[in-house]
């Protein structure tokens, strides 16, 4: 763990002396390289300005100098914790553009793998958030559960984190019995674990005092900033791309959209914990209803979508992820735009954290579930 901070200027602000505290790019609480310049009045924040760009790799430019298929590995690296969703968005956009049919078996497997990825991403968030709050132990319990998902997906795709499993028209390879049985076992294993987390963490009085009524973000702020995912669902609006802009075969499944009206950190926490429960429901149904058939459809050798612009949105673990592609009929994209959820979720931090205490602002930032490569791309 690196300990680095810089002391910057000291300014006198009327009768208040404020100083600038730098939550530097290297800091235990910012998950990734994010710098937050905080102007503090004692323990209160008068202005918190996030400075990003430390891990900006310019994926959008990379989208302009390789073929459509060659861009697929890039999609996993944008948000490495929920990589399947990002690949899904890009693959979906190209399939929409080139009017490629995806066989039902492939769609079902896409749903299964996406939901498994959502659970593993939420488990990482859960552990890391508690680490921020000072409870070191749940991180390792969550990672224990996550190992099972990673083992399943490694057996299927060959990768533990940055999967590149979807192809235009379907999947890279078909699923086998081991994966189906493993998913079924995982669902049975995970349900009691969620009960344990509820007893040990959610009902813990110290934890509740840290999160209740802290960091209120209301639905109007979410709308103006484009914040989506658990942020807007924790503010009372049941907006989920899977329900309101259905894609793939999500309308074949019966699941709830958890949402809470309070808008505080606790609401966002509960939304994510219940999303894990709902993902388990979707997994059960998908595994039971998995149809037979081919795992990939008829796809031309070199994809050249017709000229035009197309979008495809998915519900990633952090919120609404949309890909907008502009094609000029060639095998190389003209423009690839990645609309990532953490970018919008962080943009409201400056307004939401005004006047908060440092501890509470960090609890708020953790509850936004930021992955910095998602912001910077």
């Amino acid at each position: 763990m690196l300990h680095k901070e810089q002391i910057t200027n000291h300014s006198t602000d009327g009768h208040n002396e404020t100083f600038v505290l730098n939550l530097g790019p290297q800091h235990p609480a910012t998950h990734g390289v994010l710098r937050v310049k905080m102007t503090m009045d004692g323990e209160y924040i008068t202005r918190a300005e996030p400075v990003c760009g430390y891990i900006h790799r310019m994926h959008e430019k990379m989208g302009e100098n390789r073929t459509w298929a060659q861009f697929l590995p890039n999609t996993s690296r944008i948000d490495y914790l929920s990589a399947m969703h990002y690949t899904h968005a890009f693959v979906g956009a190209v399939e929409r553009a080139a009017r490629i049919e995806v066989p039902p078996r492939a769609e079902f497997v896409r749903v299964i793998t996406s939901e498994l990825n959502r659970i593993s991403s939420h488990l990482v968030w859960f552990g890391a958030y508690l680490l921020d709050l000072g409870g070191f132990t749940p991180l390792l319990y969550a990672f224990d559960d996550r190992e099972r998902i990673l083992d399943l997906l490694e057996g299927l795709t060959g990768a533990r984190l940055t999967y590149c499993y979807y192809r235009f028209g379907g999947l890279c390879n078909d699923v086998d019995e081991d994966f189906i049985n493993g998913t079924r076992d995982f669902v049975h294993y995970m349900r009691p674990r969620l009960k344990m987390y509820r007893a040990l963490v959610t009902d813990n009085i110290i934890f509740r005092k840290r999160l209740e009524n802290i960091g209120i973000i209301d639905a109007e702020m979410c709308r103006k900033y484009g914040a989506t995912g658990p942020v807007i669902r924790g503010a009372g609006t049941p907006y989920d791309v899977r329900r309101l802009e259905p894609y793939s075969v999500y309308d074949a499944f019966d699941f709830d959209i958890p949402h809470y009206p309070e808008g505080d950190c606790m609401a966002r926490y509960l939304v994510r914990m219940e999303e894990i429960e709902q993902s388990l429901r979707i997994l059960e149904q998908a595994v039971a209803k998995l149809p037979d058939g081919p795992h990939i459809g008829k796809v031309p050798r070199m994809i050249k979508p017709p000229a035009g612009d197309y979008t495809y949105a998915v519900e990633a673990a952090r919120g609404r992820m949309m890909v907008r592609i502009v094609s000029d009929g060639k095998e190389i994209p003209y423009r690839v735009k990645l609309r990532t959820p953490s970018f919008a979720n962080l943009s409201l931090f400056e307004e939401a954290s005004r006047g908060m205490l440092l501890t509470d602002a960090l609890a708020l930032m953790g509850s936004l579930d930021l992955v910095i490569p998602d912001i910077d791309r």
Partner: protein, 170 residues
């Protein structure tokens, strides 16, 4: 998808763009040619991913954003596109509705030599960061924006990487 709000929006935007074209499905599209697209077009969501496509003149942009704000749309993203062959830059604004299945796209076009677009930050504060990013990548100036300093590029960057004539940091 509820038809009523869509029709109201079509009427409002048509009045704004002074267009009296009849509705037409848009699926194909020529590179760089601005005039081949209707100003206000209904789009098939399965084909492209949104419902309403509005090409708006620069001076009505903030007003159009205000219309969407009143209809309780949420701000999605801003995409810049460099049409170097036509000498234009296009800025595409995406909006989604958090309560119903409705997606709207606003487009503006500016010349490449003088890319200036009014900011919609005062209507949708979330646009602040997206406009900074578009400025970083394309050099489009958003007039009225309080701070167009680089968001993702280094603080002293004076190049714009997503322009089609960008060949590397000189």
């Amino acid at each position: 998808m509820t038809a009523a709000p869509l029709e109201e929006l079509i009427a409002v935007f048509r009045a704004m763009t002074e267009s009296d074209n009849t509705e037409q499905e848009v699926s194909g599209w020529d590179e760089g040619a601005a005039s081949s697209r209707e100003s206000v077009a209904v789009v098939d969501h399965d084909a492209n991913g949104w419902h309403l496509d509005v090409s708006i003149p620069l001076d009505r942009l903030v007003e159009a954003a205000g219309v969407l704000d009143r209809e309780e749309f949420a701000f999605d993203t801003i995409t810049g596109v460099d049409w170097i062959a036509a000498g234009d830059m296009e800025v595409v604004y995406d909006f989604f509705h958090p309560g119903r299945f409705l997606r709207v796209v606003l487009r503006v076009r500016v010349r490449r030599e003088q890319p200036e677009v009014p900011t919609i930050l005062h209507v949708f504060p979330g646009a602040g960061w997206h406009e900074r990013e578009t400025h970083d990548f394309f050099g489009i100036r958003f007039s009225g924006h309080p701070d167009l300093s680089p968001l993702l590029l280094p603080e002293d960057a004076d190049y714009h990487p997503l322009r089609k004539d960008f060949t590397g940091v000189a």
